[in-house]
Amino acid sequence: MKKLINDPADVVSEALLGMAAAHPDRLRVDHDHKIVYRAAGPREGKVGLVSGGGSGHEPMHGGFVGTGMLDAACAGEVFTSPVPDQMMAATKAVDGGAGVLHIVKNYTGDVMNFEMAAELAAADAGTEVKSVVTDDDVAVQDSLYTAGRRGVGVTVLLEKIVGAAAEEGRSLQECADLATQVNRAGRSMGMALTSCTVPSAGRPTFDLAEDEMEIGIGIHGEPGRERKPLAPAKDIAAMLVEPVLSDLGLSRGDGVIAFVNGMGGTPLIELYLMYHEVSQLLEGAGVSVARSLVGNYITSLEMAGCSVTLLRADDETVRLWDAPVNTPGLRWGA
């Protein structure tokens, strides 16, 4: 395992020390609870947005804390959901009187831990908490009898869009409804060229031959649905875009936010190349791109690969997307 780390057990806490040191103007970190907060603290009357999950997906979620996006992010161990204590502490700390929205990616662990936190927070302090669970990964069959689709790329777009809505002063119910609507309007599909190595595990989660790739991976080094022979970018783009298009039921004339995300170990030059392929496919399908995002936003440690997320975007969605945001990971208009 080749990583810029000290003791594998300290990776998350030391990275949080680095985040705090690098962004003292914008972030405050509770190192005991491993929570990243806005430096400015909660705003009276604004709905608080709390997210969190396993670490190893940086900049998500800690890098999305700041004006126009999250109020707090709970960092779990690498690829392990945070624990209810963290979520309870974060929930209390960001409550500005208008309630708190939990943004949870659909993984059994995340869902159960956030659920326990919400139960405990409700019993305890009386903070009003609502939750939205993102589940946009079309690689996974959605069914009442399974864990359901995973939450992946849409989570980033949702945190931005609902963050803007909360900033405008919308109520908890409105924020929760918007979040549900954004989650329904987006789908993702990912692939990996290489595995990643969880620091405390010390070796790659899966092995891929030099001429193989995994299609339909999640963001935790889980193997994907299918192992396939390595293919040109053009073909890979088709394997990602087509299931998303058909699952979303997009048709000619629809507008989207198109998001090509790197898994952490793929350089930007390849992501732009992929974005070209994706935009060609969208053009071919008559889908117009209202806004785009290309880069490493929801990653899987040093995994090489990418995911494509499409979010159906009406004017209001685009307006909220364009609203100012000032976080370490996403910034414009501020």
């Binding site: 392990t80 959901s81 209810p84 993984y107 326990m116 864990a147 595990a201 889980e222």
Partner: protein, 208 residues
């Protein structure tokens, strides 16, 4: 009969077992999950093992509640809330019981597993830890009906749990992270079922 001290002995023993088997549990999770089950469990059981030294407990119930809270607060992932809830609920039927016999421990185990079901909503053959718990409860009940003592009932439960664990090999996962793999999850033993069997084997060694 199981008293506070035997429950503490159970947790001390289990912490040792998890430490030894952590890499194995993680490897199982590498095949169909995210390669952290052993790490998660070890993070929690180390803290649990330290409880008895740090604090005096008034009762088995208080102790097991604290075990549950500690697991919830340290393990994370899917197994944290599941094992945490198990111990929180396990404590209930032991309220006011200083020395638990085969009946009381049986009621406690059932309550604990109900907690796992309530939290995780797993069904039989979903390829989860429940597949190691369900046959264990049945075997425990049968053994009790057949007049077994606590040790005998726990040994029957552990043995049945091991069979349930082994039977997860051929299942396609429908809950938890392994479910994302669909057919590819077949051919691997479920990590949580494995840590469950270890927990019951440890109980059979240390309780009573």
């Amino acid at each position: 009969m199981a008293d506070l001290q035997s429950f503490q002995g159970w947790m001390a023993d289990y912490a040792e077992v998890v430490k030894e088997q952590a890499d194995y549990l993680t490897d199982l999770d590498r095949a169909i999950g995210d390669a952290d089950h052993g790490i998660n469990m070890a993070r929690g059981t180390v803290k649990v093992a330290a409880l008895a030294e740090a604090e005096d407990f008034a009762s088995s119930e208080a102790y097991l509640k604290k075990v549950g809270m500690t697991l919830v607060s340290t393990v994370g992932g899917a197994s944290g809330p599941l094992y945490g809830t198990f111990f929180l609920r396990l404590a209930g039927p032991l309220a006011g019981v200083a020395d638990a016999g085969v009946e009381e421990v049986g009621a406690a185990l059932r309550a604990g597993v109900d907690g796992i079901l309530a939290r995780g909503k797993a069904e039989l053959e979903d390829k989860t830890m429940y597949d190691a718990w369900a046959p264990a409860l049945d075997a425990y009940a049968t053994a009790t009906a057949d007049g077994a003592d606590l040790r005998g009932a726990l040994e029957a439960a552990a043995a049945a749990s091991a069979r349930g664990r082994d039977d997860t090999l051929d299942l396609v996962a429908r809950k938890g992270r392994a479910s994302y793999l669909g057919e590819r999850s077949r051919g691997h033993i479920d990590p949580g079922a494995t840590s469950t069997t270890l927990l019951l084997e440890s109980a059979a060694r240390t309780l009573a």
